[in-house]
């Protein structure tokens, strides 16, 4: 993925920091890879609950650009770890419905970022409208859907969203900017990658294993005074899966 200097350097950074955090390794030789009660679904067989077929194709392609996977030779990616499943499930949660958010106006598109989101949409609507606008832009600009573009072009589109170079207002969406959508997509993708597998992403704790995070063990008292000793245990998830 020579076309992905940013992602590669971020990955390298995560890897680098993993040497500061005790690294994961089952030096003991006993295989403790666990049987989860309900094995994580295969992404290819998953039927999205919220996203439509076209939206789903966009998400698969976009997530793969944000955190490229094994196929890029750089460790587990968003698709390897079921991040799109995490996103789909979040859309059906209180979060997706913005159930507890203040959703009344006024909304000021030019308001300071300190003032929080300035659009009347729940995350469900942010994704629906954001994906629709992005697809409309790709058709206008490239004559193709986002997922049909090559990797470099997809990255250019995502960067255009991030920088508001793609103007949602000119495409007909006047209440939300492209960067609003992009920040949701990027933030939620990272969350799905790094959060506990109970939420649908981070399949088999692959992201935790990569960064050396031991998961939901909550018990490190005995390591406070063990200096310069590699932490030998793989992670454990909320559901008790052991890695």
């Amino acid at each position: 993925m020579a076309s992905q200097p940013d992602n590669m350097s971020r990955r390298a950074f995560l890897r680098g920091s993993a040497t500061l955090i005790p690294t994961v390794g089952l030096a003991g030789g006993i295989s403790l890879t666990a049987q989860a009660d309900e094995p994580a679904p295969n992404l290819s067989e998953y039927q999205p609950v919220f996203f439509g077929e076209d939206e789903w194709s966009f998400l698969l392609a976009a997530c793969d650009r944000l955190i490229p996977g094994e196929h890029a030779g750089s460790g587990p990616g968003a698709l390897d770890t079921n991040v799109p499943i995490f996103l789909d499930r979040q859309m059906d949660s209180p979060y997706g419905h913005a159930e507890r958010w203040y959703m009344e106006g006024p909304f000021d598109l030019d308001g300071s970022p300190d003032l929080g989101f300035q659009y009347p949409y729940s995350p469900r609507e942010v994704y629906q409208k954001g994906i629709a606008m992005t697809q409309q832009y790709c058709r206008q600009e490239h004559g193709k859907r986002f997922e049909q573009l090559d990797g470099d072009t997809q990255d250019a589109v995502l960067k255009g969203l991030e920088a508001n170079d793609i103007n949602f207002a000119s495409l007909g969406e006047r209440q939300m900017q492209a960067s609003d959508f992009f920040s949701h997509l990027l933030e939620n993708t990272k969350e799905g990658y790094l959060s506990d597998p109970i939420h649908g992403g981070n399949k088999h704790m692959a992201a935790w294993k990569m960064v050396g995070f031991p998961g939901a063990r909550a018990s490190y008292r005995d390591w406070v005074d063990q200096h310069d000793v590699e932490y030998p245990l793989g992670p454990v998830s909320l559901n008790g899966e052991r890695g």
């Binding site: 006993i30 939420h199 063990r217």
Partner: protein, 448 residues
Amino acid sequence: MTARYLIPLLAGSTLLSSMPAFADTDDIVKRGAYLARAGDCVACHSSPQGKPFAGGLGIESPFGTIYSTNITPDKENGIGSYTEEQFAAALREGKRADGANLYPAMPYPSYANLTDEDVHALYAYFMQGVEPVASQPPKTSLGFPFNQRWGISAWNWLFADAEPFTPQASHDELTERGRYLVEGLGHCGSCHTPRGIAQQEKALGGDSEAYLAGANLNGWWAPSLRAGDGDGQGIESWDTQAIVDYLETGRNVHATVGGEMTSVIAHSTSYLSERDLMGIAQYLKSLPANPTSDDAASTEAREQSTDETAAHLTAAKNLSKGERLYIDNCAACHFNAGEGADRVFPQLDGNSLTNAENPAGLIHTMLAGARPPATSKIPAQLPMPGFSWRLSDEEIASLATFVRGAWSNDAGPVTAEQVAEVRDSLGDTPLSRAPDPNGSLNHEDGGQ
């Protein structure tokens, strides 16, 4: 015989035949209420949704379900028409007012030691301090031959002797007070003394080695209460203050209560005075411990095993499945040395439930969790969560097997089949529900 009852009647009443014509002082009624707590009458004589003392609790026995009776002073449904003499006969001899025998689910062989003064106070409380409830609990109907209540007379003749309490000269006064409560109202032996072939407690007093030596109770091990010096497991390692703390709050520096004893502490022992509890503790400490087996490890060897397990878990290398499961699920509270934390997390090293021959109580606690009682001295109920949603039968078996052999523990392994059996018997386990990823935390979170 009758003289025993006459004295309090004459002292407190003007008419022997009318009831309750005498006016007992509030103090006597209060004393009766205290004694009723000591006897934990309410535990059996109330159903979960029912009014106190109105009966109706189904008590499983090997002979069938025995329903407890209404012992409120309601004249039709309760014991409101009992004379004090009839009340005393029910308590001490298991005789109903009509002369029929009570089933020995009622611990009258223990209550037989009650002094006249205490029977009188209890009578005063049940007649004047308890709200009458006009409801009839289900009738007990056991199959033949156990529906033949007359047969119990033979059982009584064999196993129950209504001996009033006589202090032993060899004990000090407080220890004797403890013995009176333990052997009598406390009826500790009902659960903690092994039963014989006729379901009788093998001993009713501390002069026998079988008394309070530990027994299986519906699959749980009700541990030995013989607290004298022994192999150092369970209560044998507790001092008198630890016993007092446990009875008063369900927690001490070693253990936290679980199983049936939770309700005993909640409804009975937590209401007793510290002096009475100290008497109980002293009496239990006076009982020589169960004989140790010949191959029991020395204190030094036990300490060494404890250190070895702790060091192995701390290094966290070459772990068995059970050891890894302990680190992932248990060690945050019970710690690598299995020592727990004073009054908060029970110690697993040397714990009587962990080491019980029958592991059902341990398995039950692992699957369903446990919630200590709220007592006036420690109202907080920091519960242990259950792990039935998180660990499979095989995993619980590996974990239990490890814990029973870890540190100085020396109990046998546990199979997945044993775990499956306990799991099947569990009803709703509110402490063991899988977390809902979209539950309240997510709500409170409010988004990104």
